[in-house]
């Protein structure tokens, strides 16, 4: 079984701020992490390898320092890490990104057929949840998003059964391999990296592919290949703080009655 996982390096978004004067992102000194959902995707791929044998290939697109998330994935038990990196890829939106990543996937699959592709449910920097479905669409493979549990995989019948999260519950679906899954965090518990894997990760040389190593149409990558453009970025309008209600500790009943009055007056709850 050959599983391919897409992992993204993301800024620890809690630390990102906007420069109020220039209206640009202040990324300096912001630590980068593996997108949390993608860590679970790697873990799930490693579990598939443990069950069925085979290998796990991890692909990331980003600047050279994104090698870190690939090494991290190797320490979780992945076998091969490929970084897709090129100046020409800069400024790619989700459409261009899924195009470039699907071309990388094709190249990986040429070397060894791929059975299952895993991606995170979404990346925490953009929260778009578009890249996984974009890759599946370009490959012409079925996609199963919001997967909470892989119930069974039958490599001979080329079938997979999974549990997906839905708005009002869940569903159990069967699809044909090769398939692309996007996973929820609850799909598994991350394990600590083993010492041999940590050693391997420290020494691992990530494979790097640029635009010349991938068959990419120059019109479909980077800014030029991206239909969306960012017009303006700005800090969120601050919510105006409100009033402090008198009473508190000394007179909890008074403050409770006052709050109930206020909420009823605003028609937020109904008086009886």
């Amino acid at each position: 079984m050959h599983a391919v996982v897409f992992v993204k390096q993301v800024p620890d978004s809690t630390e990102v701020r906007i420069d109020p004067r220039t209206n640009t992102l202040m990324r300096e000194g912001v630590p980068s992490i593996i997108n949390p959902y993608d860590a679970h995707a790697v873990e799930e791929a490693v579990r598939l390898k443990e069950r069925f044998g085979g290998k796990v290939t991890v692909i990331s697109m980003g600047p050279p320092q994104a090698r870190e998330v690939l090494k991290r994935s190797i320490s979780f038990g992945a076998d091969v890490g490929v970084l897709v990196t090129d100046r020409a890829f800069g400024g790619s939106d989700t459409l261009a990104t899924s195009y470039i990543l699907s071309q990388a996937l094709r190249k990986v699959a040429e070397q060894e057929p791929v059975d299952i592709v895993l991606a995170g449910k979404q990346a925490i920097d953009g929260d778009t949840a578009q890249v996984g479905p974009g890759i599946a669409t370009r490959m012409g493979w079925p996609q199963l998003t919001y997967v909470m549990n892989i119930i069974s995989v039958d490599p001979d019948k080329r079938e997979i059964v999974v549990e997906r999260k839905l708005e009002g519950g869940k569903e159990i679906v069967k699809a044909r391999l090769p398939v692309l899954l996007t996973v929820e965090k609850g799909i598994n518990e991350l394990r600590y990296a083993t010492f041999p894997n940590l050693l391997r990760a420290a020494r691992y040389e990530v494979t790097m592919w640029g635009k010349d190593q991938l068959a990419v149409d120059p019109g479909k990558i980077g800014l030029k290949g991206s239909p969306t453009t960012v017009g303006r970025i700005f800090p969120p309008p601050p919510r105006e703080g409100g009033e402090k209600l008198p009473g508190g500790d000394d007179n909890p009943d008074q403050v409770a009655a006052l709050l109930a009055d206020l909420l009823i007056k605003r028609n937020l709850i109904a008086d009886r």
Binding site: Y146, G242, E243
Partner: protein, 346 residues
């Protein structure tokens, strides 16, 4: 795949604002109507019609509802293959409809279904898709759709444009746009279309649909949320939160600290790594107001904060702040609301 660079699109060939009318089992997702509300405004500003794309099996009755909520025209694909949602046939249906009728704007709900579908449709049509918009407006000069969304965990807002591809596609989370008034008797045109997909061609089968009423926590749909944080001190005290929620007919939420302490399960967590909520009333009790918590709840209509620290960050976003010991104040609130609302809290 053919490696041809796209020729420039004739943008003027695309006209009209569309909403994907999401439904499950013949029941419309409320976000469909919310989108018709904002779509109506966009269509007005552009001087075009508002359309609804309705896919499913046995769903024709929803067309009437769409008219009542503002649609001028509904494109219906009613086919047994569309009984349960599956990516492939729904995507093909939408793509065929869009290729044929060429709307300039297509809006979808940022639900699990809408996110699953929109990425496929936009990729196939090679157009832009902006996720989770919180504001949609028409640029008065360029007539482009200005799509504003939060990024980086809510620390910044970005306005995104799709300048030279069509349609301009955007998703919006449920409850972000207000529900439009329902005008009964309002009518429109119904256009029936063939799906044209055979079951053999569909690569996924739905084996079982499991509804989990009562079990799943619908934080994002809740009108009233009562959330507790580390300030509760111990697990037993979390019962105070549950009692107040019950008195108000609300849903229980939590900060990550409360979840990590094991006082309540993770599906109750509000915030960056939990659920984004926008209830009418949000109670933050014993919660300090860390940015990761705030980004998940600060668009609530009214925020009530209870904290013993008068300088807690939560007071900066609170509509009504109560400084004091939650151990005294929460039971008083529960008593008061039970009395005023006639709830038993049993």
């Amino acid at each position: 795949m053919p490696e041809v660079t796209k020729e420039v699109l004739d943008l003027s060939a695309y006209k009209g604002v569309w909403v994907f009318l999401e439904q499950v089992g013949g029941e419309a997702a409320p976000v469909s109507w919310e989108l018709l509300g904002v779509g109506r405004k966009l269509a007005q500003d552009l001087g075009v019609e508002l359309g609804g794309a309705l896919l499913g099996y046995g769903v024709e009755h929803l067309a009437q509802e769409a008219f009542a909520h503002g649609a001028d025209i509904v494109y219906l694909m009613d086919d047994p293959i569309l009984k349960n949602y599956r990516t492939d046939p729904y995507a093909r249906g939408m793509i065929n409809l869009i290729r044929k009728h060429r709307p300039e704007i297509v809006l979808m709900g940022a639900t699990t279904l809408g996110r699953d579908l929109s990425g496929v449709v936009a990729t196939e049509l090679e157009t832009g898709l902006t996720a989770d918009c919180t504001m949609l407006e028409i640029d008065p000069e360029k007539k482009l759709l200005k799509q504003t969304r939060p990024a980086f965990g809510g620390n910044i807002m970005a306005t995104i444009l799709t300048k030279d591809r069509r349609p301009q596609m955007a998703t919006v989370r449920p409850r972000v746009m207000p529900m439009p008034a329902r005008i009964s008797g309002r009518t429109g045109r119904l256009v029936k279309e063939e799906l044209g997909v055979q079951e053999e061609d569909v690569l996924t089968k739905v084996l079982e649909l499991v509804k989990e009423p009562g079990k799943a926590v619908y934080l994002d749909k809740a009108e009233i949320i009562v959330s507790g944080g580390r300030g509760l001190g111990e697990k037993a005290n979390f019962a105070l939160i549950e009692e107040l929620a019950q008195a108000l007919g609300g849903t229980v939420g939590a900060s990550r600290a409360a979840v990590e302490a094991g006082w309540i399960s993770a599906d109750h967590q509000v915030g960056q790594t939990g659920t984004t909520v926008r209830p009418k009333i949000y109670f933050a009790i014993g919660i300090s107001g860390a940015i990761q918590h705030l980004v998940g709840m600060q668009t609530s209509d009214v925020i009530v904060a209870i904290n013993k620290d008068p300088d807690a960050a939560i007071f900066k976003v609170a509509t009504y702040g109560i400084v004091g010991d939650l151990m005294k104040i929460v039971p008083a609130l529960t008593r008061e609301f039970k009395k005023r609302l006639g709830t038993t809290g049993a």
